[in-house]
């Protein structure tokens, strides 16, 4: 603990004055003449021993009674005429440093106050909080920033309602393979719904996101009539068109039922193989011919071809959809590859007379299929060097198994984004 040291100024250095101080303050005074390198002042001075600096007429001593010193100064008979506590002195540069530190602290306080004001009063971000349709959340869309940008996704279906407000401003290429019916109209609505799931964005009324590859290049091939039916000719014509145009993904939410033990079509097996050789991935609906819990129907054509990806449907309780076909003809091909959301799926829909909405909830493996197609576009954007076949493998590798659902029903499981 630091002691208080006092500097006591005497009016003279007579022996009687020194003795008076020694008596009055109960200290022994040593003259500075007796100091040497072996007898330093700091080794002497304490509360019982003082040092008298002869040249200055000053006594230095520790822990004096300050009240007594004050009385001595006032007493004209006392040899003490002034006293003060020892002071600490700093070199000039140290004082400057302390002053600079004080200034810096003041500036920091100002900055902290400014930052505090900014945080407390900053505006709410312009970007709305995104909400997601259940299907998109189920596949992890809320965890990825990829949008399918630059990837050509071709929807082969009933056409597309080009006037749908969510697609205003997008460049959409299309072709009709149905005589007398246009690709850019969709009285049926099925094609617009599927295109919305794979390539749409957010609802223009609520801002809820329902589409996956919102920045992909949307291509439309009308292969199903307005009544929702089609032929081998229209499908083959459209696939050939899509491959020739080098589109990367062909999404087919269509099917033709097959019998148990029926072998897959060599025609479609060849088409799928040729597509993969041309770096095009064909994804197709497994079909809706089942009535579970009865034995499900086998995967329909063309999804039953080994070279075409087959998609089953699940609901938001992570149960296989009652209508979703299964890998019944496993010995001849026709397994399910993956599953995707396919029950109560909201997406874009043509506004029909009397309707007040541009959206509709639909269910089917038709709805599950474009989930896979949209996600494939995200993968292709994320991993541009992967071939179509490798993207297929990755979709299966990253898919999540669902508890209690067998491979027969959902293949490798529920598709997932990679983040």
């Amino acid at each position: 603990m630091k002691q208080n040291r006092y500097i006591v100024l005497l009016k003279d250095q007579h022996k009687s004055s020194i003795q008076s101080v020694e008596r009055e303050f109960s200290v022994s005074v040593t003259s500075s003449e007796l100091l040497s390198k072996d007898n330093r002042s700091y080794n002497i001075i304490d509360n019982k021993n003082a040092v008298l600096y002869k040249n200055l007429g000053v006594v230095v001593v520790d822990d004096m009674d300050e009240q007594q010193l004050t009385l001595s100064v006032k007493d004209t008979k006392s040899p003490v005429i002034w006293f003060e506590k020892e002071r600490d002195f700093f070199a000039a540069d140290e004082i400057t440093l302390i002053n600079e530190l004080k200034t810096a602290v003041d500036q920091l306080k100002t900055k902290i106050t400014e930052l505090e004001n900014f945080i407390l009063h900053k505006p709410i971000p312009q970007q709305p909080v995104i909400e997601w349709q259940w299907g998109l959340k189920a596949i992890g869309m809320d965890k990825t920033l990829f949008t399918g940008k630059g990837i050509d996704v071709c929807i082969l279906d009933t056409g597309f309602d080009i006037s749908h407000p969510d697609f205003t401003g997008r460049t959409i290429e299309g072709k009709s393979f149905i005589q007398g019916e246009d690709w850019d109209k969709d009285p049926n609505g099925h094609g617009t719904h599927c295109a919305g799931v794979a390539c749409g964005n957010v609802r223009n009324d609520t801002g809820v996101r329902y589409g996956i590859a919102k920045d992909c290049n949307l291509k439309i091939g009308k292969v199903l009539s307005n009544s929702g039916n089609g032929t081998t000719s229209s499908i083959i014509d459209a696939i050939d068109w899509a491959i020739t145009k080098k589109f990367r993904i062909i999404s087919m939410s269509l099917a033709s039922p097959v019998q148990i033990n029926e072998k897959p079509s060599v025609l479609f097996e060849t088409v799928g193989t040729r597509a993969l050789e041309n770096n095009v991935l064909i994804i197709a609906a497994a079909g809706n011919d089942s009535q579970r819990p009865s034995l499900p129907a086998p995967v329909s054509a063309p999804a039953n071809s080994l070279s075409i990806m087959a998609v089953a449907a699940i609901d938001n309780q992570m149960k296989v959809a009652r209508f979703s076909n299964a890998g019944i003809n496993a010995s001849t091909g026709g397994n399910i590859n993956v599953c995707a959301p396919g029950v109560d799926i909201l997406s874009s829909y043509p506004r029909k007379s009397g309707s007040t909405t541009d959206y509709k909830l639909l269910s089917g493996t038709s709805m599950a299929t474009p989930h896979v197609s949209g996600l494939a576009a995200l993968y292709m954007e994320q991993f541009p060097d992967l071939s179509a076949r490798q993207v297929w493998e990755l979709l299966e590798t990253k898919a999540k198994q669902i508890e209690n659902l067998p491979y027969r029903d959902i293949g490798k499981g529920l598709i997932q984004t990679i983040h």
Binding site: V223, T232, S253, L254, A255, S300
Partner: protein, 68 residues
């Protein structure tokens, strides 16, 4: 008229078999180079056994439909 799709065997040149198809009375509707598939029509029933340069011949189906 029945529409068929013939899947060409590996190494078969379409130009060389086109004449054989027309000589057999078939009406060629399309050839898909990227797929190596020929679409043709015939009034009579055609099977793969009729032409050795096809790996398969399939009749057109018209029961493809939306799945919802």
């Amino acid at each position: 008229m029945i529409i068929y799709f013939g899947v060409l065997k590996e190494g078969i040149n379409y130009v060389k078999i086109k004449k054989k198809l027309t000589e057999a009375g078939l009406i060629i509707r399309n050839y898909y180079p990227a797929l190596k598939i020929v679409k043709f029509e015939s009034e009579k029933k055609i099977t793969q056994a009729d032409f050795d340069f096809f790996v398969a011949i399939e009749e057109e189906k018209n029961d493809f439909s939306i799945q919802m």
